[in-house]
Symmetry: C2
Subunit: 141 residues, 2 copies
């Protein structure tokens, strides 16, 4: 045990913080995307500064909540299924299938969140419609 170094100690702290951050993001995502309560989710989980990289949404928790409210109004059956969750340092990464309704083939999404002190403070995503046909039998997830 004496061979442990400061760097390895940092990895332990990071791994523990990562598990907590994953839990924060999972609760945020479920409340906003599937319980359809984006205002409550933003108030509970997003920090006072929220830097947005999705090109359709302005900075800040209110812009996020307003955007998602409008999308839920347009697609009342909007639903996200989280396929994988990863964390590294203060980032949490989700691999998600989002569907507007049961008949929608859906979109593949990766969301990247940066957290500070248990709050979500920055967000990036990449979104691709799932095509009808594929060159392999594996699906996008």
């Amino acid at each position: 045990l004496l061979i442990l170094t400061v760097s390895q100690g940092a990895s332990i702290a990071s791994a523990q913080g990562g598990e907590h951050n994953k839990q924060v993001v999972l609760e945020f995502y479920d409340l906003a995307m599937n319980q359809h309560r984006p205002q409550a989710a933003a108030n509970q989980f997003i920090g006072s500064v929220y830097t947005q990289h999705n090109p359709l949404i302005a900075d800040g928790k209110k812009a996020f909540a307003d955007f998602l409210e409008a999308r839920i109004a347009q697609f009342p059956e909007l639903h996200s299924e989280i396929k994988s969750i990863f964390s590294d340092g203060n980032r949490v990464i989700l691999h998600v299938r989002s569907k507007t309704d049961q008949n929608d083939r859906g979109r593949a999404i990766v969301d990247i969140f940066r957290l500070e002190d248990g709050k979500i403070v920055e967000h990036w995503d990449v979104i691709q419609p799932i095509p009808e046909k594929s060159a392999n039998p594996n699906g996008m997830f």
Copy 2:
């Protein structure tokens, strides 16, 4: 130091494996995407089984190399800039801006790789063209 548990020991091993896996993926990506040697990259870094989730590419290292060779022939200035790299367990995640030439606004990509014994054995991605305009001043990265 005696308070360390088996679970924390696993986190240390995972963090160390994660750093090695990141290095493998960075070398693979540079050789294939920027040095434009996909056959060499596939032979050196991809496992004997390679499960592909990009819907345009069949399973296996040869299908990957052939696909990228054709794309490089079409876009001789094809270039990828890795903006972020993450790892969790046996996965490595890249956040990338890919451009076909210097005038291309480019595409935002997240690649997810699964590694076994230092070889890349599975790949998922999500790809989105970068739009001209954005509701925020931050860019997609």
